[in-house]
Amino acid sequence: MTTAVGVDTARKPATMAQALGRALRDAMAADPSVHVLGEDVGTLGGVFRITDGLAEEFGENRCTDTPLAEAGILGTAVGMAMYGLRPVVEMQFDAFAYPSFEQLISHVSRMRNRTRGAMPMPITVRVPYGGGIGGVEHHSDSSEIYYMATPGLHVVAPATVADAYGLLRAAIASDDPVIFLEPKRLYWSKADWSADAPEQVPPIGRAVVRRPGGGGRRGATLISYGPSVPVCLEAAEAARAEGWDLEVVDLRSLVPFDDETVCASVRRTGRAVVVHESTGFGGPGGEIAARVTERCFHHLEAPVLRVAGFDIPYPPPMLERHHLPGVDRVLDAVARLQWESEWTEGSAV
């Protein structure tokens, strides 16, 4: 994954979907123990075409169309990992990963612990997740909290084309099981990127400041990941007009959680909003807000606020715009960060 020195490979627009596909290809080429399995991943190349070409290049034994049974897919992947393979499992949609939860919670996440390291589970579970693509019922769930709350798993969600490639390579290379959440609505997002000399990206567990800011008396931090990162960037841009200076932190992984980067930003800005698509109650934002508050309490001018999906089943395409946390709702939350009290009491900086 290191960039060859001196190779000046032209960077061209690439989609996140392409970068993900390339990451799988390169991982399979680099390591014969990497096997891809799932529903329709072979001949069809997956319903999102992420695995397109893999069966042709590496054969059906390396990229395998399985029977239609998610628990069976993950359960057999556990057995393959026991024998030293590195399975990469595709769940076709977020909600269709649920049948595999017993295997995930009771085995994938615990096998290393139970065997005191003798049986690591270097399994990557790719989950196309989240909404905003006009999917019918059960095709737009944001299920990350189920994974976050299960000790033993890593949980990763890329927001950029370069991260999609770099994090997926890192996930496959990890000896720990990784839930790799692919934001469906960013599949066709583009960036200048070179498949032949992909950028080096920070490792899993490191958050990144996507938009520096937050200095001065009108600063705040937006904390986000996956599909909500572009929303936060847009909101930060829009906020300039209102005189706010927002820093945007992209978590990149929910587990491990990068307290350092997040708290460094919040301590500086004194205000924070967590933004995600998942339902709010019992969702990732609670954990994030709570831990930031535990660590930065005396730097906070206002409670850490959360902008999340409503606590309802994911709505139909025709109503999803009302559910998804968009720029307006982020700005509304920023406006509620008790700026007045600052002016009257004149505390910060």
Binding site: D40, G45, A69, Y98, G134, E137, H138, I312
Partner: protein, 380 residues
């Protein structure tokens, strides 16, 4: 004795007293799918039934092509066509009594329409709405089910509940060949057999689960052979022979109603169209295969048999087609109207007792919508 007690239920006994078990032989399907049209037995089918089947097949085909067309016009979010499988859909839609229940999978809107649902209601979910569109109790049709095979235990539970209440109700549950691989298929069939529940399981084996052919889905002699492992009869039928599917289902329904327990029916058919409008079937199957199946078209098979018996003439065909065109025209017109949706409905049915959290969130959305409306008002 409770309804749970099986006659002759097996409990291991040490030799020499091996308790006699259920005989497996009668549970096994025939090696060849059962076929009625074109055989001598076809002469025995009631002309009235054939006429109803024919009319619904023709209308069903048209319904399929119209719905697919609506996806191109952006009027349906997605449509999984049952073109080629109309014999199964129509037979499933016609075979039940009013009080019985139908449990469709996501591809089975046609069966629901044949059973009496308004097509616009049946297509609500696929249009992009989150709700079933219809009151399931109105026509005893469970909500369309997207998570594969999960509707099967529902059908078992409902049929069992009806039996416990002493009601004479049969449930017919539909599932695809791919869906038979899910754990829920297994658990549902097992519960049904142990509880002796009045359920009929119809597997529409259309050769594919999206791109995955049957050979990668199972190594069984047939999907119907799975029945014996649960202690219920398995039946294999030509899924393009509407009369045969109807007869096999009717027999299974009769058996269930009479207290004879569940049946597994495999109807061998073929998905003529791509998985949905979003799919590209040329990636995984040759056109020649599709063509071979087109030659075994359910409508053509039935028309031929009816013409042989002089139960259908050109006039009859024309009448059926006209009825189909009226259905399509009506569907087109009504689907071209934008549905009126109130965003506040998002909070209305999540709970019987709305939580204070949801009340807060509903108030937030209400405020946003009001602000939006006010802005729009200013803009005028």
């Amino acid at each position: 004795m409770t309804v749970l007690e099986q006659p002759g239920a097996y409990r291991p006994t040490p030799p020499p007293g091996w308790q006699p078990r259920v005989d497996a032989a009668p549970l096994l399907p025939d090696a060849e799918p059962y076929r009625l049209l074109g055989t001598a037995a076809a002469a025995g089918i009631s002309p009235d039934l054939l006429t109803r089947l024919h009319r619904e097949l023709v209308r069903g085909r048209r319904y399929n092509t119209q719905a697919t067309a609506l996806t191109r016009q952006g009027r349906l979010a997605v449509y999984p066509s049952s073109t080629g499988q109309e014999a199964c859909q129509v037979a499933a839609g016609l075979v039940l009594e009013d009080r019985d229940w139908l449990f469709p999978s996501y591809r089975d809107t046609l069966a629901a329409v044949v059973r009496g649902l308004d097509p616009v209601d049946a297509l609500t979910l696929l249009r992009g709405d989150w709700h079933s569109g219809y009151d399931p109790h109105a026509h005893r049709v469970a909500p369309l089910c997207t998570p594969l095979a999960t509707q099967l235990p529902h059908a078992v539970g409902l049929a069992h509940a009806a039996r416990l209440k002493g009601d004479d109700v049969v449930a017919l549950a539909l599932v695809g060949d791919g869906g038979t691989s899910e754990g829920d298929f297994h658990e549902a069939l097992n519960f049904a057999a142990v509880w002796h529940a009045p359920v009929v399981f119809l597997v529409q084996n259309n050769g594919f689960a999206i791109s995955v052919p049957l050979a990668k889905q199972t190594a069984a002699p047939s999907l119907a052979h799975k029945a014996v492992g649960y202690g219920m009869p398995g039946r294999l039928v030509d899924g393009n022979d509407a009369a045969a599917v109807h007869e096999v289902l009717a027999e299974a329904v009769r058996r269930a109603r009479g207290g004879g327990g569940p049946t597994l029916v495999e109807a061998v058919t073929y998905r003529i169209e791509a998985h949905t409008n979003a799919d590209d079937a040329t990636r995984y199957r040759p056109d020649s295969e599709v063509e071979a199946w087109r030659a075994h078209d359910p409508i053509a098979l039935l028309e031929e048999a009816m013409r042989d018996r002089h139960l259908l003439d050109d006039e009859g065909v024309r009448a059926a087609r006209e009825s189909a065109e009226r259905l399509a025209a009506d569907l087109r017109t009504r689907m071209n109207q934008d549905p009126v949706l109130d965003p506040m409905a998002l909070f209305e049915h999540v709970y019987a007792d709305r939580t204070s959290q949801l009340r807060e969130q509903a108030a937030q959305l209400r405020a946003e919508l009001d602000a939006e409306a006010a802005d729009a008002g200013k803009g005028e």
